[in-house]
Symmetry: D2
Subunit: 304 residues, 4 copies
């Protein structure tokens, strides 16, 4: 299939819609001032072919897309022991709700809600993994130096009262082992990773190649079994409270972030990254989802 | 692949485990007296090849597996209008919880929780579809006469206070159009459909062939688009409160019932039905799930 | 104290406000067509002195005020055994919520939410008490023949899906012993009792005289101990989700109904009944509450 | 009435029950090591008569009883504006639940749940009131120097993750104006006030004398209107999730703490303080409640 022309076509169809609907996340200045009229799309196939269109080279704040990578690291370090502290069920509630967390005694429902990602950050801190290690991991995955947007990280920390509440709440149930401040320092930084569609499509490519590193010859990122499971979690829990709808209408494992990025996987074939900053009511990139729908319609690629 | 020998192997591995764990549903006599030490498995491929092992010819009460078929009928009759009354998100709560129903003003979260299936029965009643029509649909799908277990249907009606509550609750929000009694008569009967693994694998085969009827030459059951969407709903919502876990550990769209049956789909390849009456804590067949895990491990078939 | 002139004064102050705010309950025709611009107030002292003003002789649908009297009967028949099936805590949720009922396994939080009153009707039915007995009790209490508004009772039954849901839901937890239809027949009738302020003030007078019958010489209605407890329940649970606010701003035990009536008690001194059909957002009579505030301000009577 | 002999009698009846049931709060060492077999009772009448029995002179950690006094201060400083940030309804949920707080957008249901008391501490900090001011207020009320147990305050701070979560959660809704650390410093200290029954009965005596200072000649503590309202809040919300039950079985406004103290008020007559460290399942002093029941039974004093 000529993926480059598919992406070009999607870019042409999406571009006229830019800025018409949705709103940029505005809880911190670093996100609020991102110009809304941007759209990028990039893919990386199992064989290493790359294609991209639009603003695919523009870096953005990957936000919750980072949860995909910290989960991968935590599964590598802890294996099945990870699931003693974190569930694998969709949340059925807005993404930062405390209700379910209380009901389940401080055990987050899945690794992709904020509480779950904070619990994973705690597990990584216990393994001696910090900000520098995460950056090295991301840089290795995409073959380019990746950086934190320190202004965004500082804003997240200065306004992240709800995440501070989540971390302390889990700590009150004995579900966070390290000092809350240290755990959140890693969490607020992971949200502030700055990458482009092209970089993210490549960095996530191990998910379409059974865990193998995007660059042949390097050690595998994770196992085939873990890869399947990460993809399953993306499908059932990866797009906030809209995971059921996204599975229904797009049918690919996805992980989104409030920076407007979405990583999607066609298992055994390719990884895709779309980005457009305006969000819909569920916190997912409005045109990002639209672009993924177009991609599925044009290529017929679907897991169902 | 030699599916017959795969199923035989699974049957050999499962049989020693029969009766060791789990418990038969016991809220009505018709289910409670089913001997626990039974296991059946059957498959039907896209090409029409069939294979089965164990108690694959023994009929059982399909219970919630029927929701798959009433959903298919309702999508055929109503198209996208169906989703005005029913959501598509995992429930994140035990399967007959009223909490979320209240929160969402009588709109069930998805078609596979009890409230959602009752809402679908209401839509079918509005289209003039009744017990006889549903039985004709099921019989046509599997090419054999299918019957209701009237004793089970009567027991469901006599003890189904929670379902009566759900129906009246939705009615109080104006989300049920017909008389509650008429809607529940259909619902209680659909739960009491009596079929074997072999029949169910065949009846659901349209899900692995883009909606085409299992017997070539007949009109298609549903469209390719609807088929993908039904499979997506099975994956995110098909196994009560364990959908996330089942996606994680098995990775196939499944719909289970408290009679111990589970239908699973490998899109574009085959449909599978397993049955064993003892249930785990989430209400899914304990050895049925185990058999599906074995099937995936042995065949490498997975959507992720 | 010259109570007659106090009531006259309150009537003069309230009358100009009639019809300005609030709305009549409109879920059934029998309530919806009640003219909004009506206000009545009546009291009955421990010594038997009566006073009234405004529309105190106009009968209205007492609705949830009836829960006060069925509770009294049930405490008489069952004593402390009543509390095995019903709690004594404020609900902290809108008056017909099912959430808490699910959380507490079908045991209603208190006798004044709908679920609690239905549970009490079930207890009375078990004791052989029916519609005729309740009417005889009410007539005896106020010394005049009291009747049901059968049109209202029929409307309640025809539209009471939420109450049917509540009853079936409790039945599903084994907390209703009798047939749901029989229990609800009593419940829907008790809501349709037709009485005036004057009659209700007199009927509730046993609450200000330690349980003694309003007409000396007859056997006592309930014990001193039960009287204190009924007053306590009125204070903590008697005015739907506004009980805390009413205790805060009025400071008297009250029981309200969506017909616009409110019975209030000054223990050891007098019973008061106010009525005005327009309700506030919490379902309590807007000017009824205002009149009670005025009464407390003018008389200095308060339990705090 | 000879109150001294009533208290002596209660002490004689309670003493044999010491240590038999209930458990001392054990989340911090300062509470966990309090010997269980202690009981004190003291009262202070409107006229200034005092009586006490048992361990009435032994100081203990007043914990949530302090919420009574910070509420009084906040009502003095803010008047009705206080209620923009805090509700007046019973919580219907365990005392540190976050569910309702989320539902109500960070506005605590009442001033006596932890979230409400933290919100009040925030209001006091905004008015320039700190630890020293609170201590001065308490010392002035009881006419003796009162101190903080700094070890308890430090333990509260070191383990109070749930309260830190609550404060940050409210801050995320914009309902806390000051730095969370500063607000909690006051809150953790107020819990650690060290007083005896005798001191507390005297300090709370303004509640039985329409707000007048326990020592004649000093300015009044609060108004008559505020006094009634504080008493109403104690009745509906003062004993955690058991407020309905306490109103039902004791019938006096009460405020309890997990240190085992309870302050009760007979409006216009007297203030009572009981203390015994072993708690029941609802977090109230088990023998403290028993002693209050005995007091009501022996004296016939009740507000209902």
């Amino acid at each position: 299939m000529n993926f480059q022309s598919v992406l070009d076509e999607i870019d042409r169809e999406i571009r006229p819609l830019l800025g018409a609907e949705g709103a940029v996340a505005c809880y911190i200045p670093g996100l609020a001032r991102v110009p809304v009229a941007q759209f990028g799309i990039a893919l990386h196939t199992r064989e290493g072919v790359e294609a991209c269109a639009g603003d695919a080279a523009t870096p953005f704040s990957i936000q919750s897309v980072s949860k995909l990578f910290t989960l991968t690291l935590a599964m590598r370090y802890l294996g099945d022991a990870l699931w003693e502290r974190i569930g694998r069920e969709p949340s059925g509630n807005p993404f930062n709700s405390l209700v379910q967390l209380e009901h389940e005694q401080g055990k987050p429902r899945n690794p992709f809600i904020n509480a779950g990602a904070i619990a994973i950050a705690d597990r990584l801190v216990s393994r001696g993994q910090g900000k520098a290690d995460l950056l090295a991991f991301m840089s290795d995955l995409c073959g380019e130096a990746v950086r934190y947007d320190e202004e965004v990280a500082a804003s997240e920390a200065a306004t992240g009262f709800r995440n501070i509440a989540l971390a302390n709440f889990m700590k009150s149930f004995g579900k966070i082992d390290n000092a809350v401040g240290e755990v959140l320092a890693l969490y607020f930084h992971q949200c502030a990773i700055h990458m482009s569609c092209r970089q993210l499509a490549r960095a996530a490519a191990f998910l379409c190649r059974d865990g193998a590193h995007p660059f042949d010859g390097r050690p595998e990122i994770t196992t085939e079994r873990h890869t399947h499971r990460i993809n399953a979690l993306m499908l059932t829990c990866g797009t906030y409270d809209a995971a059921g709808d996204v599975a229904f209408s797009i049918g690919l494992p996805c992980k989104s972030g409030v920076g407007g990025g979405i990583v999607a996987v066609v298992p055994d074939q390719l990884t895709l990254c779309v980005w457009s900053p305006a969000l819909d009511a569920s916190g997912n990139s409005l045109l990002g989802l639209k672009a993924l729908e177009l991609f599925v319609a044009k290529t017929g690629l679907s897991i169902f």
